[in-house]
């Protein structure tokens, strides 16, 4: 019995030996490899530390703040209240109105931008005159300070002052809800369509010209070439553009702040959070809204990345290596 055990153990004991030798060999081989690792960590550490320190800790802290009654006007009444703030916010009509407004703005702007951006990308890609001119001018809305653009739209729609009120005969569009929302969407679309177009342009550049030529020879019309050849190739680019723009549009703040200050129920969730923090000076409620916005965006991002599959930027990053 003991013999058998020994014999049975011997081959087992043998196995690690070559492994150990292999490991030693690998360690010797990878002197450079380990240096590479260390350099990799060293180079990434500062960026990673800053990103995590400035977002990670505060988001945890804001969860803590959201569980307290904390009104800066009455700092002595600060106390732990559990989920009370969440109950307050989630049963508040203003919050849900802002939520609906934000969703509406996001969906409408992104939809318009996708169509307009695609058109713009096609123009940038295919124009035979003034390609540089077009690309330069398209970058102006992208680069311009949002507050500046918002003021331009605000004054354009101000009665008396604005050329657009004069042109359209509108009375005072920024004092009514529907027209205010339309102008907010217009300002947002104008500013961010070029970004969408540039992302789509990158996808457009990947469409093989031969494929288009072959499709044309087979008798495919322009529309068929677009839907059957270009769109499938561009799908990853379209998804990336949609992801970035959706999450960006959901954060909308600057345009609303300048155009309406959230008047007539045109607040977005960001605008409402800001108002609770700095107009209401209520840190507890403001933090609760911060956390809720964070959760919403996390859910949106999760859904998008599930839809993406392998097309998610993070994973292609790896796949490309």
């Amino acid at each position: 019995m003991t013999h058998r055990v020994e014999t049975a153990e011997r081959p087992k004991a043998r196995v690690p030996r070559p492994r150990r030798g292999e490991r030693a060999e690998r360690a010797r081989l990878s002197e450079g490899k380990r240096a590479e690792r260390r350099l990799g960590w060293l180079l990434c550490a500062p960026a990673a530390l800053v990103m995590v320190a400035v977002t990670g800790y505060p988001i945890v802290y804001s969860i803590w703040l959201s569980l307290q009654r904390f009104d800066l006007k009455f700092p002595d009444e600060r106390e732990f209240v559990g989920l009370d703030n969440y109950v307050t916010v989630l049963s508040n009509g203003y919050w849900w109105t802002a939520f609906a407004v934000t969703f509406l703005i996001t969906v409408v702007t992104v939809a318009i931008e996708l169509v307009l951006g695609m058109a713009l990308a096609l123009v940038m890609h295919r124009t035979i005159v003034g390609r540089g001119l077009i690309r330069t001018s398209v970058l102006i809305p992208y680069g311009i300070v949002t507050v500046v653009a918002a003021f331009s739209w605000r004054y354009a729609w101000t009665p008396g002052t604005g050329y657009l009120t004069k042109l359209t005969g509108a009375e005072a569009p920024l004092t009514e809800r529907v027209s205010s929302l339309a102008i907010i969407i217009l300002a947002e679309v104008w500013k961010t369509t070029p970004f969408m177009a540039l992302l789509l342009l990158a996808g457009l550049a990947l469409v093989p010209a031969d494929l288009l030529k072959a499709a044309a020879m087979d008798g495919a019309g322009a529309w068929q070439r677009f839907t059957k050849v270009m769109l499938p190739v561009m799908k990853p680019a379209i998804l990336v553009a949609l992801l970035f723009r959706t999450l960006d549009a959901f954060r909308i703040f600057d345009n609303i702040y300048i155009l309406t200050q959230g008047a007539n129920n045109t607040s977005s969730v960001s605008m409402l959070t800001y108002n609770n923090l700095f107009r209401g000076l209520n840190l507890g409620i403001g933090s609760t809204m911060s956390v809720l916005v964070f959760i919403t965006v996390a859910i949106l991002a999760f859904i998008f990345i599930k839809l993406f599959g392998t097309a998610a930027p993070g994973s292609t990053e790896e796949g490309r290596r």
Partner: protein, 281 residues
């Protein structure tokens, strides 16, 4: 691309010319409008005409007469430049590692940058407001520089790592064969080759910092660190009874100038930076 069926003749050129014109008009009209407003006299400010009837530089004189706007401009320039410098240095280091080196945790870093690119900034203003007040960073330059670096790092890392992948790395291997360490290869060989990519990401990061409004309005309270976009939104005119429209327009034009200069000088780079960073083949 004028290959199939489209005659590359005058008709096509005209058609494209008209389409181009529409695009240029789309991009420029709101900018020209604010420029026009800034050049109008007080009397003609509310005439609703797109082209000013009477031209004046009075509005520009007004905004540069008081400290308010000049201080904000200095804050904006200083904060944006410092944030850009730091973000680009950190981003270059990280992007080099991502593009070239093999190490565990790389995927996590790419993931974290992606998350931060999508992070709702409004979720940070309440905790940052409270944290910065307690450690004395509220209403200071570093108080804005920190979040700016954080939120521009993903942009810098993405554009730079995409750029770094296109660099001819045989040169690095050659340098290593000549006895250079990885660090030396980075400094001596790759860094000069990478310079154009670094410039591109610096421009994109600068535009991002220059543009910010939410952090700037939440984390500042005085002229000590208030940036230009925020100062603009607080303009009230020289006196209580004066309409600030002209002054705001003039200030708006002033802070648009750097953007126009960048776009004119670096159009190609900005386009390639934006397209390469965000979309993968």
């Amino acid at each position: 691309m004028a290959a199939f069926g489209e005659p590359d003749g005058r008709a096509a050129r005209w058609r494209w010319g008209v389409i181009d014109l529409v695009v240029v008009a789309y991009a420029l009209i709101p900018v020209l409008w604010i420029l026009s407003l800034s050049l109008k006299t007080t009397a003609t400010l509310t005439d609703g005409r797109f082209v000013p009837r009477e031209w004046t530089l009075e509005n520009y004189r007004t905004i540069f007469q008081t400290d308010q706007f000049i201080r904000a401009l200095v804050n904006s320039i200083g904060i944006a430049l410092i944030s850009t410098a730091i973000a680009v240095v950190l981003g270059t280091m990280a992007a080099y590692a991502i593009a070239r080196l093999d190490f565990p945790g790389k995927k996590a870093l790419v993931g974290v940058s992606l998350l931060i690119a999508m992070f709702p900034q409004v979720s940070l203003i309440s905790p940052l407001f409270e944290i910065e007040r307690s450690i004395g960073l509220f209403d200071t330059w570093p108080g804005l520089i920190l979040p700016y670096i954080t939120f521009s790092l993903p942009l810098a890392i993405y554009t730079l790592s995409a750029f770094f992948r296109q660099i001819p790395w045989e040169l690095e291997k050659a340098a290593k064969m000549d006895g250079a360490t990885p660090a030396q290869a980075f400094r001596r060989v790759i860094a000069p080759l990478a310079a154009p990519g670094v410039v591109t990401s610096a421009i994109l990061v600068f535009i991002f910092c220059w543009n910010d409004f939410l952090f700037a309005i939440s984390l500042t309270s005085t002229e000590a660190s208030r940036t230009a976009p925020v100062a603009l939104s607080f303009f009230t005119g020289a006196s209580q009874f004066e309409d600030p429209t002209g002054a705001i327009s003039a200030a708006a034009v002033v802070i648009t100038i750097p953007i126009i200069v960048f776009v004119l000088l670096f159009q190609r780079r900005i386009v390639s930076g934006l397209t390469s960073g965000a979309v993968k083949g």
